[in-house]
């Protein structure tokens, strides 16, 4: 990994998820965690942990462009906080990712924003309630000058 990636708070956050276990997959473009790979390599003495990991499995992707944008705008720690909070709040999380996008119809094309996408397997009531908690957290904890650069979408699959 290059200096930009290793120095990023987001990478530090992702490293926290590993609990000392080596990542089995890392791509230059994306930083990808595969908890399921840990499952394959584990022995029987860690069954309880494996099950817990499997229950809380996360397939997390943060694009290189997103990291670069956040680092350049001083938003990397905010992104890390948002990912951490999403991980905490969305109970049936299947996938968590962050990428850049542009609003086509309204704002200048050269002004990107970060899109955090969460895929969950929960029912509508739970998904909307957890989404609402995330929004309340953002409204109270993240300054508007920072949160204006972030959107979150929750997809039930």
């Amino acid at each position: 990994m290059n200096d930009l990636l290793t120095s990023s708070p987001v990478v530090n956050l992702i490293a926290l998820d590993l609990n000392g276990i080596d990542t089995s997959y890392c791509d230059i473009g994306d930083i990808i965690l595969r908890v399921k790979d840990f499952f394959v390599e584990s022995d029987s003495t860690t069954d309880t942990k494996i099950i817990r990991e499997l229950e809380n499995s996360v397939f997390k992707t943060v694009s290189k462009e997103c990291l670069e944008f956040c680092d350049s705008q001083g938003l990397a720690s905010i992104l890390a906080e948002c990912l951490m909070k999403a991980k905490e709040l969305f109970s049936s999380r299947i996938k968590l990712s962050a990428d850049l996008d542009y609003f086509r119809d309204d704002q200048a094309e050269n002004t990107p924003h970060v899109v955090i996408r969460v895929e969950v397997s929960s029912d509508q009531h739970t998904a909307i309630e957890e989404y609402d908690q995330f929004v309340c957290w953002m409204a109270t904890e993240i300054p508007p000058s920072d949160s204006q650069h972030f959107t979150i979408t929750v997809k039930r699959v």
Partner: protein
């Protein structure tokens, strides 16, 4: 016409099974919520007077974002997220769009309007108008 009329259209569309209907439903849900807040801000005295057609969405969403009233800030985030869903639905045709997505956009649009109506007070709205207007001035929107 009341912006909420678009919610009825969204509901009719999401009752269909074709993906194009579901994607269009999400767009109507977003516009129902966005137009509700645009009209509400206008009612209380905040309207984009300079280049009204330019950054019309950003005007509403950012004025609410910087209003320093939780009800407004929360509504802003809902609108921005719904705007993202609407753009995904209309532009990202490679991304799957299912019944769940249309249902959730509809519910969020209903909820953001209801939560705001239930939570806002005259005193909070006075503060909202003051702070949102100040932000609009810094952006040369009014």
């Amino acid at each position: 016409m009341e912006p909420a009329e678009f919610l009825k259209t969204a509901e009719l569309l999401k009752a269909q099974t074709e993906e194009a209907h579901l994607r269009t439903s999400a767009g109507r849900s977003y516009y129902a919520a966005f137009l509700y807040f645009r009209e509400h801000l206008k009612q209380i005295g905040l309207e984009k007077t300079r280049k009204p057609g330019y950054e019309a969405h950003a005007f509403v969403i950012q004025c609410l974002k910087f209003c320093e009233v939780t009800e407004g800030t929360k509504a802003s985030q809902y609108l921005r997220d719904l705007q993202q869903v609407r753009e995904d639905a209309d532009y990202h045709l490679e991304m799957p769009f299912m019944q769940n997505n249309a249902d959730d956009a509809f519910l969020k649009a209903q909820k953001v309007i209801e939560d705001y109506k239930n939570g806002i007070t005259a005193e909070k709205e006075k503060m909202l108008l003051k702070k949102a207007s100040a932000h609009a001035k810094t952006k040369c929107w009014i």
